[in-house]
């Protein structure tokens, strides 16, 4: 029973996370000069102590979409004999990171007020 509830919680948080994935990626890239796909998944896992797990099936389409929208640019580098693709923020991407993070923060505050009206009264 407990296991089932845990699973449901994970499922719901992954759905919630999906909507904020682009913002998370932009925020991470704002803090780090450049990152590659696998590194992003590991960084999120590390920051959230394993609570959030970004799946590759969701991450790569997000990275490719942001690249197509010109918010990200890429550069390749040879690492361990293979080509590694790094993602970096463009000028537009930097601006988008700031506005999307602010938007998400506002949303979280509003959501908190909604879930706990006492917070809103203060």
């Amino acid at each position: 029973m407990h296991k089932k509830i845990m699973y449901t919680c994970r499922m719901s948080s992954s759905k919630l996370l999906k909507g904020s994935l682009a913002t998370i990626v932009l925020k991470l890239l704002e803090e780090h000069e450049k990152m590659y796909g696998y590194e992003i998944t590991q960084r999120v896992k590390e920051i959230t102590a394993g609570e959030f797990k970004i799946t590759e099936g969701a991450l790569y389409p997000t990275l490719h979409k942001l690249e197509a929208e010109n918010l990200l640019t890429t550069e390749t580098q040879k690492v361990d004999g293979r080509v590694r693709k790094y993602y970096k923020l463009t000028k537009e991407g930097n601006a988008a990171a700031v506005s999307k993070v602010a938007e998400l923060e506002e949303f979280i505050v509003s959501l908190q007020k909604l879930l706990d009206p006492k917070l809103g009264l203060g």
Partner: protein, 229 residues
Amino acid sequence: MTKKDQITVVKYLKSLDIRSMEFFEEMYDHILSSFQSRKDLNQNIDVHLRDVVQPGFGGAKGIQRVMKSQQKLRQKAIFKRAKDLFLSYLISWPTVLITMVIALVIFQLNALFRPKDVLLIIMTTSALIPASIALGGQIKFYFDCKRQNKPYSSSDLNKRLLLIAAIGTNLMNVLLNVVAKFIWGSQKGGLEAFSSYSWLQITLSVLFVLYALVVIQLLKEKFITKLAI
């Protein structure tokens, strides 16, 4: 990580029909990075692919889905860039001056040569030059991959650009053989029909020259003729 592990990953990606440089390199690096950081060092590459990599993408089909969605996004981005470049020749200052000069030159050429010949030469050169550059680049890329023994032989970006570079020849064919016959019937040849109205002949010629300029500019901006590294 052994050479055998690397070969297994190459074979795995090939089995998923991943044959273009961009996605192949990204997935190859992702899988090997993941394998190198595995917690259980006794886990072999086959088990890692089955238990870690595939579930992360939602199965083998999930990996292919990511590849296809990237191809669609790339196609859309290229067409958008082409549209922006094309519109800049029609409505943006000072590039609109180029269009005006082209129109003037065509007008002068019509006074010197038969409009039908002018249209034919402009249409064929405008359609064939970008297509030849794109095709030549693809062929060079293919041989570079073979020479360097790469597990892929094409670039998805090049493929998408070749599509846009081939539109000119198809458009010429449709205009001269289908549209002209549909409008004027079969009594006149397509070239003759379009050339009988000078405004139409000049407009068509200008549009074809602009198309060639746009595609050449796109190829210059994005085309990959050399391997990344």
